[in-house]
């Protein structure tokens, strides 16, 4: 789908990208990662000809891009630039509508698309559609930038650190969202990131660059278990086992877990706590409310009183989360398991530390 052949870009004496060859297949997510200044942005911009290569050739769909009109080439690719670059004099919805306008879509279709995209990036359409970029936070602006790149539903996406400025929790949600959409839409994506965990989680293949050169282009598993050289080895760091966990979704490990209703009596609770020390507490709608500990049941009159009602957001993970996050929540709460909830906060089950161990062992083998 996208093929770079010995592409070089030099600015005077600086060689930003050197003899880089890279192939990204149709429907594949290629995460481009490397230290600052190694040429990631330059590589990305050569694909849509915002930067012309000094030498080498680039093919999109088998066609040499040097022979395609730049405007036409670019309209088939969504591009989220590193600096966001929203148009300050246009509202959020006008910003998103730019490419659909260029492609002369009908009004209703554009309006519908705007609403769809805003919800997709987790911003309430009613609240955000009419705002101006000057009224957005950095993270919100960045998400609008992503929505704008997706607007005309292009088959190819070039994204330069699209989630760089959003908070970890939102980023986690956007990544999960991205994976879900990608599974059904199968876009061809080149995404630049500085965050190795993000690369490992989202990539079909990771391209690691160093000083303008491609040092390894492989699946995340391969990069983690067989780093090509010392640079990659150091780059992925010593916690490779932990990183591998972030490739594995908890959804395959959810198991039934003991739970009691928040309105249950103390006796019922004590009975539930016979087999193990803690059980999850849910409300009448099956929504997770916290957990109770066997030792805390002695001198209380109701379950409600002894509940450790930490914010479910903090103790639970979503179905879409990774084993790595599950493990980190367990360590945070000092429990040997973590509850898994659906998008309405309803308890689905739990993942235990043993599951995590088994998963690690299986991959190691």
């Amino acid at each position: 789908m996208i093929r770079l052949e010995k592409v070089t870009k030099s600015y005077g004496v600086t060689v930003a990208v050197s003899e880089l060859s890279l192939e990204v297949n149709q429907g594949e997510v290629c995460m481009l990662i490397g230290p600052s200044g190694c040429g990631k942005t330059t590589t990305l911009r050569m694909v849509n000809r915002l930067t012309e290569p000094t030498s080498g050739r680039i093919f999109v769909d088998g066609q040499d891009t040097a022979h395609v009109r730049p405007e036409q080439l670019r309209r088939s690719m969504g591009y989220a630039i590193q600096g966001v670059g929203l148009f300050p004099h246009m509202t959020v919805s006008k910003n998103i509508a730019v490419v659909p306008h260029l492609l002369s879509w009908e009004k209703e279709r554009i309006a519908q698309r705007i609403e769809e995209l805003l919800s997709l990036v987790g911003l309430n359409p009613a609240e955000y559609a009419g705002k101006y970029p000057g009224q957005l936070s950095g993270g919100e602006a960045q998400r609008i930038g992503v929505a704008r790149a997706l607007a005309a539903d292009p088959p190819i996406l070039l994204m330069d650190e699209p989630f760089g400025a959003v908070d970890p929790m939102t980023r986690e949600r956007l990544q999960a969202q991205f994976l879900r959409i990608q599974r059904s839409l199968k876009k061809t994506v080149i995404m630049v990131t500085h965050d190795l965990d993000e690369a490992i989680r989202l990539a079909d293949r990771i391209a690691i660059m160093e000083a303008g050169r491609l040092v390894q282009h492989d699946t995340p598993e391969a990069v983690l278990s067989r780093p090509r050289n010392k640079f990659v080895h150091d780059f992925v760091g010593t916690d490779r086992a932990l990183k591998r966990l972030s490739r594995i979704s908890v959804s395959g490990f959810v198991r039934q877990s003991p739970s009691i209703s928040i309105s249950a009596s103390v006796e019922e609770a004590a009975a539930a706590c016979v087999r193990r020390r803690w059980v999850w507490v849910v409300d009448e709608n099956q929504r997770l409310r916290g957990w109770i500990d066997r030792d805390s049941l002695h001198e209380v009159a109701s379950v409600r009183e002894s509940i450790v009602a930490t914010d479910p957001e903090v103790i639970a993970v979503a179905e879409t989360a990774t084993l790595r996050e599950a493990l980190s929540r367990m360590l945070g709460q000092g429990l040997r398991s973590v509850p898994v909830v659906d998008d309405r906060g309803r308890l689905l089950g739990e993942v235990t530390v043993t599951d995590v161990e088994n998963a690690t062992a299986a991959r190691e083998a």
């Binding site: 849509n48 915002l50 730049p70 405007e71 036409q72 080439l73 670019r74 309209r75 591009y79 630039i81 600096g83 966001v84 670059g85 929203l86 148009f87 300050p88 004099h89 246009m90 509202t91 730019v98 490419v99 260029l102 101006y132 970029p133 000057g134 009224q135 930038g145 704008r148 070039l158």
Partner: protein, 395 residues
């Protein structure tokens, strides 16, 4: 007390002191004829009630500016501004009535002209009015009242004839048609040169942004032209244009001569170029490069980028440049009278030649008024052209 003094309003204070000092100067001068020496009439010698009113009003301004804006800043600013307006109105009534009284049914050659005291009070009042205006930013109705009340009263007095016995009016009433003709010429020179400046300056500014090679020479030339004294520039144009019209009589038919409208238009156009070129350049340069980049990345053509992104974002600054050029040219047109191009400057130079200060004022006052009006209109245009989302209020 120390704190009260620290909180004082310096600009308004200066205005009030200037205003009070006007009491020591003559307010009117009575001459047997236009050119003869005259007798000075102080505030005390004219209508007593008005003199007392002006002194009390000025003292009120002084006290109010000594105590600063305070917590109820806007209310104080309104008091101060409106008091200054009333001072102007009273002063106008005073000089108008006194002049009528003095002229009576005496010789038509008798002249009553405005003296230093009147002008000083006017200056002091407008200093106070500007101080109050600054403070009232964003308070539309009161700000307008403070800015325009005295001017409106002046307009009414002009129409009703209250001021018709002042010598300026007499200078005017003999030359009404000439005045309208020169005013028209003034506006023509202003409009013609600024329009040409816009047509040339905006493309030059765009060119300077787009081409590294063009940037330096364009600004070199534009900057140089600003340093040539206006009179010299008018003079420089005489020889080449006379030579041209001498060589090609057909051009002469078109009005191209060494003196007159053509060289004036050329010189004024050259003067209006720098602010327009510079602001176009800065306006385009301050457009966020990331926005342009994003536009390109989305497949917009160079022209679409210009029309949809660069032009709307640069427009307020470009128009700001047109405003500066226009205000500057309103004043410079006055000099054009020296090379026979006419305009309100004609009265100024006639007045200088005849040592008739009232004739000078007949040219100078409308020029100042015109400059203020052009400034106000262009400011409104700039505001209208500022896209929502980029104004100060949303940042």
């Amino acid at each position: 007390m120390a704190q009260r003094l620290l909180g004082r309003n310096n600009v308004a204070l200066v205005g009030s002191v200037i205003g009070l000092s006007s009491l020591f100067f003559s307010w009117l001068t009575l001459r047997p004829n236009r050119l003869a020496a005259g007798t000075h009439i102080s505030l005390w010698d004219s209508a007593g009630w008005a003199a007392t009113a002006i002194i009390i009003l000025w003292l009120a301004c002084l006290v109010s500016s000594l105590s600063g804006w305070g917590k109820s800043g806007n209310r104080r600013a309104i008091y101060l501004g409106m008091t200054a307006n009333i001072i102007v109105v009273v002063a106008l009534v005073l000089v108008g009535l006194t002049a009528t009284l003095l002229v009576g049914d005496q010789s038509p050659l008798l002249r009553v002209s405005l003296g230093a005291g009147f002008w000083i009070t006017l200056a002091g009042a407008y200093i106070a009015i500007f101080a109050a205006r600054e403070r009232l930013r964003g308070r539309g109705a009161w700000r307008n009242a403070v800015s325009w009340t005295a001017l409106a009263a002046f307009g009414i007095f002009l129409i009703t004839g209250l001021l018709q016995n002042l010598s300026i009016w007499q200078e005017f009433s003999g030359r009404e048609s000439r005045f309208l003709q020169e005013l028209g010429q003034h506006l023509f020179l202003l409009g013609g040169s600024v329009a040409t400046g816009v047509l040339l300056g905006i493309p030059l500014g765009i060119w300077a942004v787009r081409s590294k090679g063009a940037e330096r020479p364009i600004f070199f030339i534009a900057n140089i032209t600003q340093t040539v004294p206006s009179l010299a520039l008018f003079g420089f144009l005489i020889p080449p244009l006379s030579a041209l019209s001498f060589a090609f009589p057909a051009l002469r038919e078109l009005g191209i001569r060494g003196v007159g409208t053509t060289p004036a238009l050329i010189a004024l156009t050259i003067y209006s170029l720098l602010p327009i070129v510079r602001n176009t350049y800065v306006g385009l340069r301050q457009v966020d490069p990331a926005a342009v980049d994003a536009g390109l990345g989305m497949g917009m053509s160079g022209f679409q980028i210009f029309r949809k992104i660069e032009a709307p974002l640069a427009a307020p600054l470009v128009l700001q440049g047109v405003r500066i050029a226009s205000v500057q040219v309103v004043g410079l047109v006055a000099v054009a009278a020296l090379i026979g191009a006419g305009g309100l400057g004609w009265f100024i130079f006639q007045g200088i030649g005849q040592a008739a200060p009232d004739l000078i004022l007949l040219g100078a006052i409308p020029i100042i008024a015109l400059a203020l009006m052009v400034d106000a209109v262009m400011r409104a245009v700039v505001r209208l052209a500022t896209p929502k989302g980029t104004g100060k209020e949303s940042q």
